[in-house]
Symmetry: C2
DNA sequence: GCAAAAATTGACTTTCACGTAAAAGTAAAT
DNA sequence: ATTTACTTTTACGTGAAAGTCAATTTTTGC
């Protein structure tokens, strides 16, 4: 069996264009197999794409995403590299925590906006 | 009294360039006063900049930020506009919630990365 | 086995959010 | 009065992440 996905199956599933997936391949994020020139995506590729898009949603750059993926494939063996990586992880973590605070604050603001809207609607509604 | 801020004071406080603040003015996000040609920022401007940067951190575009700011200055008076706005708010909210999930998942992943690093370090440390 | 649909490559274009350089005006301090 | 530190406008440049277009293959359905 060993299911394969075509490129358009995946573009439909994830709502991205073929150009995007090819771009990710060019950037070395994914390595779909080939039958001739045609790309064949395996479940592993599909999973990777999921992770890529998640990274994208929270604002990681392509190279940041690439870096994370690299770690999984081949964790650095050298001491210095490892320490550097851990530093980066720590920075990223702080960054993400800040983002979460930002999101919470913005969500609260959106609540305000909504309430203001409802009030307005009520006013208008009464006047009609 | 009525404190004014110079542009560089604010760039230092927020870690952005003058170009950035001027750009935000060009984009209609802020409207600092002028003494001659020189910009004078009031506390209100400073506060707005804070909000803009928060929006930026979570990936809002300039026009999305502009939209939110607009609502505060001048909530739409027309019914249709209001409903449209509320729809947008609802979409944004969903978007932000998704982002928060993404962040949580990524934080968990970073924990894994870190642990893998620590394990590696221990291995190497022993071998030395 | 042949047409239609789908996939490929390559080059060019676009959008966003500023960066950068140039040339000149201001303002306070020495 | 001159230096020093900012500030201004104008205008072109840039990098990331794709979008678009065109000209070929390749695959699939019948």
């Amino acid at each position: 069996m060993n299911k394969y996905y075509t490129i358009t199956e995946l573009t439909r599933e994830f709502g991205v264009s073929t150009r995007t997936l090819r771009f990710y391949e060019d950037e070395g994020l994914i390595h779909p197999e080939r039958r001739g020139r045609t790309r064949l995506f395996r479940p592993a590729d599909r999973h990777l794409i999921k992770e890529i898009l998640r990274g994208r949603r929270i604002g990681f750059t392509i190279s940041e995403i690439r870096e994370i993926i690299q770690v999984y494939k081949d964790p650095p063996g050298e001491m210095g590299q490892l320490q550097l990586l851990m530093q980066k992880v720590s920075v990223k973590r702080d960054d993400l925590r800040q983002k979460r605070r930002d999101i919470d604050e913005t969500l609260a603001e959106l609540d305000n906006v909504e309430e203001a809207c409802l009030t307005r609607l009520a006013e208008i509604g009464v006047g009609t």
